[in-house]
Amino acid sequence: MADEQKKDEAQPQPPAAGEAPKPAVEEKKVAPPPKPAAPAKPSVGPEPLDNELVRRLRARFGTALGDATLDRKQAIVVVRERLLEVCEYLKTEEKFDFLADLTAVDWFDRQPRFDVILNLYSFPHNQRLRLKATVGDTCASVTGVWPAANWLERECYDMFGIRFEGHPNLKRILLPDEWKGYPLRKDYDILKQDTDWIRENIGIESGQ
């Protein structure tokens, strides 16, 4: 199990240099100080997080941020608004230069309904950070910050129906363009699939 919280062992090197030595085995044993006292047994379940990065973020964005938690030793920061600014800041100032993943979770009966999850990674700091943007069905697009978000946001739109404002080419990616419904929403189940589309385009009756 990798410890992914090594905030203070910053090795600011540009990734392009190709020489960035990665913290390997021995660094794993160094307990990162900003972490709240490590529990004796493996930490399971969220606990509040308060470290340098979170403090800096709070100082800058204040109430735009929600809770910061540490879940299974992984840092999570909730962003309520100003997602784009937070992202730009994280990329330029905090060197989270890599968007590993962007996805969403449907909380169905919550308002706002969706969490958009951004899994960030910083090559210089070898550190991950998870942003959770609570959104209704629209969200700011981060393609301008990390071009990698392009397809990921399209997939998110495809599966959850979250509109990413400012996306250059927001259309369905995995499902056919004319498909109705958003499959990964919790209120979509297999009986709700687009039987009309199947009948028209494939010429068979859906077996469901």
Partner: protein, 379 residues
């Protein structure tokens, strides 16, 4: 001329402007490695831009995941990147273990490392054979499949399956290794170095091979990072980043190995990087097989996997790049949300930039060098 051409299949050309042509490759095309469809906008002979049309193999794996219990879903991940099923299984099992707060016992972690490295070699071998075939060299395919066969035999002996292995269980392993497992891995490693030399003899210094791959599909380190590219493509561009080193999992922190990187970020460098990775995997195998600890193979995770509420993101260095699992648990036996971060999907995004300015014939080579598996792209 285009009287009887269906727009869906094969190559279709539409004349736009004076020199602009839309060329459609796939989804039924011999070298798009499955059902990838690429729409190329050509400016004369050169590719001006491209658009990938994917989803032909979409099965809704993530939705299925929300409707299965944790152990039930494990075989499904084998079907995403079906040529590297063991790696998928490792990522999933470790993610769920992390969610549970459990850890597999050392012996299990060693065996997992061995099987996963074998799988990396198998995946790279498959890639090498088909990539060479795309560029017109038919013979390497048979050589690489010969070696891949040895690996699949080991898998088969270990868990009864060759392709979709479902080799691991949450918390460790279900099966103890069979007698002679270590010896077979050793025998494989013993021959394998010479076999890689054989492939190199056919390709590495072959002038035609070099001309077909050198400076083709170049992606700089900055672009690779910006586009989220991982795995051998990122390393081919000169970023020395490998999750096995950066955030060690399984037993990788116990072994000595190097991360090869390229300089130019072209198809040739990625070819060399993958070859060197196979050599490094062999190194890991040799070390691991000598030091398998004794002990239990399954941690105590309980009969019913019921992780406490919370979420986890765990990623491993799959043969194709960063394979991540993001799992949200609501405290029941089924994941509330299960997200697979597919390396092929995100690497394929870089295709557009890589093909720009190249000839149509190079597109085939570039698709080959990205090493996609459509099962994983579409999920």
């Amino acid at each position: 001329m285009a009287a009887n051409n269906s727009s869906q299949f094969g190559v279709e050309t539409t004349v736009l402007g004076a020199d602009e042509i839309i060329l459609n490759m796939g989804p039924q095309h011999p070298s798009t490695h499955g059902v990838l469809r690429v729409k190329l906008k050509l400016d004369g002979e050169k590719v001006a831009s491209s658009e990938c049309i994917i989803g032909y193999l979409h099965r809704g794996v993530e939705k299925i995941g929300e409707n299965r219990t944790y152990p039930q879903f494990a075989p499904y991940v084998d079907r995403t990147d079906y040529v590297a099923a063991v790696s998928n299984g490792l990522g999933y099992c470790e993610a769920v273990e992390k969610l549970l707060g459990a850890e597999a016992p050392p012996r299990a972690r060693w065996v997992r490392t061995i099987l996963t490295e074998l799988q990396r070699i198998a995946s790279h071998l498959l890639w090498l054979g088909t990539h060479a075939l795309d560029i017109g060299a038919i013979t390497p395919l048979f050589y690489t499949f010969r070696e891949r066969e040895e690996i699949l035999k080991i898998f088969e002996k270990y868990c009864g399956a060759r392709l979709t292995t479902h080799a691991f269980r949450i918390g460790g392993l279900q099966y103890e290794t069979y007698g002679g497992f270590e010896d077979e891995v050793r025998v494989f490693c013993k021959d394998f170095d010479k076999r890689i030399d054989e492939y190199e003899e056919l390709l590495t210094s072959n002038r035609i091979w070099v001309e077909r791959t050198r400076d083709i599909g170049v992606i700089t380190a900055e672009h690779a990072v910006a586009m989220g590219v991982t795995g051998p493509i990122l390393r081919g561009s000169g970023v020395r980043w490998d999750i096995r080193k950066a955030m060690p999992y399984a037993a990788y922190d116990q072994f000595q190995f190097d991360i090869p990187i390229g300089q130019r970020g072209d198809t040739y460098d990625r070819y060399l990087v993958r070859l060197e990775e196979m050599r490094q995997s062999r190194r890991i195998l040799l070390q691991a097989v000598e030091s398998i600890p004794d002990g239990p193979i399954l941690a105590r995770v309980g009969k019913v996997i019921k992780p406490p509420p919370g979420e986890v993101y765990h990623s491993i260095e799959a043969p194709k790049g960063e394979l991540g699992y993001y799992i949200v648990s609501d405290g029941t036996t089924q994941p509330y949300r299960l997200r697979i971060r597919p390396p092929s999907f995100i690497n394929l995004q870089a295709l557009d930039r890589m093909v720009q300015g190249h000839l149509v014939a190079d597109v085939v080579a570039i698709i080959g060098t990205i090493d996609i598996v459509l099962g994983e792209v579409d999920r």
